[in-house]
């Protein structure tokens, strides 16, 4: 056997890593070059302050792109209720002005959730390393890029040096074999994966998602999956470049043009794992068996299919897990054996970096068209991922479909995914949400979150509780 040949075979992650090594240290870490740094207002202020205190300047000012998203109001752009939110937004303004970093203002139609606008503008491209002080940066990995979230100290490090000192992750392949059935979306696939491997299943690994079901997805769907890699424990989610990727990337504002486009395509076509390369861990998922997913607990791994009953902690022998289930049932005010039909929803949120792209809005609109939301729903909102998505949706008349059925049509931002602005749950309220985290208090102190796909969430708004989208008329 020719071991030399095997040792040269690389995964997509290996290739992206090797292309960005500036220096290999002798302690298993490497200095890795960062091509694109995306910035938002919550995790950057202390980094800019640190830079200033040390009298340092950004290494490469014009590769940074900033956008306010977490704190922005989605109802009336001019009214920011919380003075502290306002300070954070103003601090980002000032830091970008002082350093010369390009920033999309709140009133700019290109403004939106940071992980949405990168790909949308062509600021995130295949083959890049992309970082942002936000764990959902993995979204960009769907383009065949190495993209991951970092803390504020690393934000400062990237600003100052355009590099990070990193230890390479191990390689994991999640192979989603076969095709999904009717009504099953990318969100169901990723929730199913998280349910299978657990929220720590990918810890220490870079996950490459592959298989027929992944190849058949649009870029929007692929981004939904890479977005939630972090909910499977992995800070890196990746997918190979194919025709779908290239079609999506072509002709975006920051995408290379003409001859350069041809050169880029030649290079990008190699951005896939070599055939028969060895992964440290392989997980196989049968797409044909995936059913509509809904979370019941306070961790994304606490997920079941729409037709399952709420689980009984006594069914597990693992004591730690059993305690976790008990705490979650208690917090969610649920009892073992309950069915989703019996669990009334108070609020509905369609949005977030997971599910606020045009395809998500189309899927939700299709479900609610010509119907009214249930009288039991106190508030249902649709928050597009960017100003451009909002415009596109309005061009297609989706806004009117939502408004006619009783939804509020809002301005783009992170909104009720984490409620840093005034879009929040009240204590005890239960929400059907297309976002990514069902942690205690995530959408507001005492609030209860059930995660699901856009069409499942839209159907829950109409019925007042979750229903099987495959039977929904």
């Amino acid at each position: 056997m020719n071991y030399d040949l095997f040792s040269k075979m690389k995964t997509l992650y290996d290739k992206l890593w090797d292309d960005h090594v500036v220096y290999d240290f002798d302690d298993d870490t490497s200095l890795i070059y960062i091509d694109r740094h995306l910035i938002h207002e919550v995790t950057s202020a202390q980094a800019f302050e640190g830079l200033k205190l040390a009298n340092r300047k950004p290494w490469r000012v014009n590769t940074n792109l900033a956008v306010p998203d977490h704190n922005v109001p989605t109802k009336n752009r001019k009214v920011i209720d919380d003075p502290v939110s306002k300070i954070q937004l103003e601090t980002l303004d000032k830091n970008c002005k002082d350093t010369g970093i390009t920033k999309f203002e709140m009133f700019d139609p290109r403004q939106g959730i940071v992980h949405i606008i990168g790909p949308e503008q062509g600021a995130s491209l295949p083959g890049m390393t992309i970082v942002c002080g936000d764990s959902h940066t993995s979204t960009n990995g769907a383009l065949g890029a190495l993209a991951f979230g970092i803390g504020t100290s690393d934000v400062e490090h990237v600003l100052a040096t355009q590099c990070l000192v990193l230890k390479k992750d191990k390689n994991m392949l999640v192979n989603v074999m076969g095709q999904t059935g009717k009504g099953i979306s990318a969100k169901d696939i990723v929730l199913n994966i998280i349910g299978e491997i657990g929220t720590a299943g990918g810890t220490g690994y870079a996950i490459e998602f592959s298989g027929d079901a992944i190849h058949s997805l649009s870029m929007e769907g692929r981004m939904t999956i890479c977005n939630m890699s972090i909910e499977a424990g992995s800070r890196v989610g990746l997918m190979a470049v194919d025709k779908t990727t290239l079609d999506y990337v072509e002709n975006r504002p920051y995408t290379p043009k003409n001859d350069e486009w041809e050169n880029a395509v030649n290079i990008w076509q190699e951005l896939k794992s070599d055939e028969n390369v060895n992964f440290d861990k392989v997980v196989e998922i049968d797409a044909t068996k995936i059913e509509p997913q809904v979370t019941w607990g306070t961790s994304p791994e606490m997920v079941i299919t729409i037709n399952d009953a709420i689980p009984d902690p006594l069914e597990t022998n693992d004591i730690v897990k059993r305690e976790g289930y008990k705490n979650a049932l208690n917090y969610m005010d649920l009892k073992p054996g309950m069915r989703f039909d019996d669990i009334k929803i108070d609020k509905v949120f369609i949005g977030s970096c997971t599910n606020s792209r045009i395809e998500d809005l189309r899927a939700a609109a299709l479900v609610v068209k010509g119907k009214k939301i249930s009288n039991d729903i106190k508030l249902a909102i649709v928050v597009p991922g960017s100003g451009l998505i909002k415009r596109q949706a309005e061009k297609e008349g989706l806004d009117q479909i939502f408004i006619d059925s009783g939804f509020e049509w809002r301005e783009p931002g992170c909104s009720m995914c984490l409620g840093m602005n005034s879009d929040q749950l009240q204590p005890g309220e239960r929400c059907a949400s297309t976002s990514n985290r069902n942690f205690e208090g995530r959408q507001g102190p005492g609030g209860r979150t059930h995660l699901a796909s856009p069409s499942m969430t839209a159907a829950a708004a109409i019925a007042g509780h979750f229903v099987d989208i495959r039977d929904f008329q």
Partner: protein, 214 residues
């Protein structure tokens, strides 16, 4: 940056798995633009009874008497003991700042969220991975002895009880050095400025579109 020294401290038990960064410091309290002042909102929803009250000064809020960190001697604890996947969730470094501002210097758990783990070392804070069985033993010790203390020695990589039972832990040498010496990571990287410039020159010939201005 501060250096990490061997110390003996009280362990506070937090018997939960998947403690996420939203729970460590809820988003209502992320809005400071400084690295300090997060300690009084550490585990806010568990620590206070009126936990929907980010407008009231912390000192005027009612503490939850049943929450471990409100019970002496754990209000003076320097080491946190938790279950698997501690610090999962968001990349917010505020979670580490909040633990550190409260007075914690280390956390013991079977596993950690990747980003939380990496953020810790940038702040002189030590996350220690022990086997789940070892964590269980420590929970039992804490149950039996109020104010149970251990010594953490990073240099020799062990946690030791006062009756001399040692738990050895693994840690990457780069991270260990970073804590022991309290290094300025940015200054260290800037020593490689020439390598970075060289990389940029070579790379921009191959993929020039990555070097266009935004």
């Amino acid at each position: 940056m501060i250096t990490f020294k061997t110390f003996t401290g009280i362990i506070a038990p937090l018997d939960r798995s998947n403690v996420d960064t939203d729970t460590i410091i809820p988003k209502e309290y992320l809005k400071s633009i400084k690295r300090t002042g997060f300690g009084s909102n550490l585990f806010d929803a568990w620590r206070y009874l009126n936990n929907n009250d980010s407008k009231t000064q912390n000192i005027k809020r009612k503490l939850n008497p049943n929450f471990v960190l409100n019970k002496p001697p754990y209000n003076k604890a320097e080491i946190l003991l938790a279950r698997e996947n501690f610090g999962c969730g968001s990349s917010r470094e505020h979670a580490v700042w909040a633990l550190s501002n409260f007075g914690f210097k280390a956390v013991l758990a079977p596993s950690f969220g990747d980003i939380f783990y990496s953020n810790s070392f940038k702040n002189g804070f030590l996350p220690i991975r022990l086997q789940a069985e070892e964590i269980e033993i420590l929970f039992n010790y804490v149950k039996l002895t109020l104010g149970f203390k251990v010594t953490i020695n990073l240099e020799e990589q062990f946690v030791e009880t006062q009756d001399n039972i040692r738990f050895i832990f693994n840690i990457d040498s780069s991270l260990k050095t970073c804590l022991l010496e309290g290094l300025d990571n940015i200054a260290l990287t800037l020593k490689y400025s020439d390598s970075i410039h060289r990389y940029e020159r070579n790379r921009s010939k191959v993929v020039p579109w990555l070097f266009r201005e935004i």
